[in-house]
């Protein structure tokens, strides 16, 4: 009897260690997942529930990344950052204003970073490389590496798809013939659309730009 109790106690002890250990592993994994964020070239962001721009990673870049972190990341990934200036004659990125992310010289896939006053990333922009772009530009387009619905968003964009994936916007602003901007404050997402002639404003041939910005709570409307 005593032996049986002893065996049970040993099993319980081992079991609890395994269970707690598993819990620990789970917590570690959960932490890692949060810390790593949602990389757009690995995961389907728009299929993820409850995401916000703070979790978004694009080629490893994230909002709030400091200039030294960016520099280290660029070196590690062998990327090139091109600063603002006259197209074709741009200076190297200095952690100020807009910089385009390129994987080689003149091979920029549509990802741009905006740096704030403290030289941290305050906005990440992804431009859809359009169908009429040069073959090489289309080949380099970062949107080609997106997954699932996130990729569909760039290929088959429409108002219905936007509403189905993201729901109604928090606000929007029209710029006449230039296009329209939809803002999703809680997600930290701004969508800029430039229409193509003879098509609805929001159609697959529209030029599209997704901007990830810090999320902000939607102001409550008082009744």
């Amino acid at each position: 009897m005593q032996t049986t109790r002893l065996i049970c106690a040993v099993f319980l002890w081992i079991g609890s260690i395994l269970f707690l250990g598993k819990l620990g592993i789970c917590q570690a994994l959960a932490y890692k997942s949060t810390a790593a964020g949602i990389e757009l070239t690995d995961s389907d962001l728009f299929s993820t529930r409850g995401w916000s721009s703070q979790q978004v990673r694009v080629l490893g870049f994230r909002l709030g990344m400091t200039w030294p972190e960016v520099q280290e990341h660029v070196r590690a990934r062998h990327l090139d950052l091109i600063g603002e200036g006259v197209p074709g004659k741009e200076a190297a990125c200095a952690g100020q204003g807009w910089c385009q992310v390129c994987e080689a010289q003149f091979q920029c896939g549509g990802l741009a970073l905006d740096f704030g006053m403290s030289r941290e990333i305050i906005e990440m922009s992804i431009s859809k490389v359009p169908e009429d772009a040069a073959k090489k530009a289309r080949h380099n387009a970062i949107q080609r590496r997106f997954k699932g619905i996130t990729r569909d968003f760039f290929v088959q964009y429409s108002k219905d798809l936007r509403l189905k994936v993201l729901g109604p916007e928090s606000s929007h602003e029209s710029f006449g013939a230039l296009g329209i901007e939809y803002r999703y404050r809680e997600l930290g997402l701004v969508i800029e659309i430039s229409p193509c002639p003879s098509h609805p404003v929001e159609s697959p041939c529209s030029d599209l730009e997704l901007k990830f910005v810090p999320p902000s709570p939607v102001p409550q409307v008082s009744r």
């Binding site: 074709g88 385009q100 490389v129 530009a137 230039l178 296009g179 800029e192 193509c196 030029d207």
Partner: protein
């Protein structure tokens, strides 16, 4: 006949004219070189609106290629290796990405979804950097 570069003010007028065509389609505007000439005609009526890119860029009485050390200014013409032309606009209007510094007529016959006159990222049109040209007018 002597020709001179357009002034800053004339360059601005060209760009203002080009911006009025934003949103117009291929059927209305035609090829990219026609769009460029249509805007340049506000200062030089001799610009033909039915020529090809190479006809336009090869006409020494219409456009002058900027030297490497010269800085392009708003309203100068950006040329992508004789395949596409449009205008350089360093400060695109509100509602346009600040990276989209190139205003052009995008479209070709037979293509289904022509984007028409719109702003875009210059890197879309050719992986190689563009060169710049300045409109010319008759001097005096």
């Amino acid at each position: 006949m002597n020709y001179r570069d357009v002034t800053d003010d004339e360059s601005r007028r060209i760009l203002v004219a080009a911006r009025t065509d934003i949103g117009k389609g291929y059927e209305e505007i035609g090829m990219c070189s026609g769009f460029v000439c249509k805007a340049i005609r506000t200062v030089n009526v001799h610009c033909p609106t039915n020529g090809s890119v190479s006809t336009l860029t090869g006409n020494k009485n219409l456009l002058r290629r900027l030297l490497e050390e010269e800085s392009p200014r708003a309203g100068d013409v950006m040329v992508f290796k004789d395949t596409h032309v449009g205008f350089y606009d360093p400060l695109p209007p509100k509602g346009v990405s600040q990276i989209y510094k190139f205003l052009s007529a995008r479209g070709s016959p037979g293509r289904k979804n022509n984007a028409g006159v719109s702003y875009g990222d210059p890197t879309w049109f050719n992986p190689l950097p563009p060169f710049y040209m300045r409109a010319m007018v008759i001097a005096g």
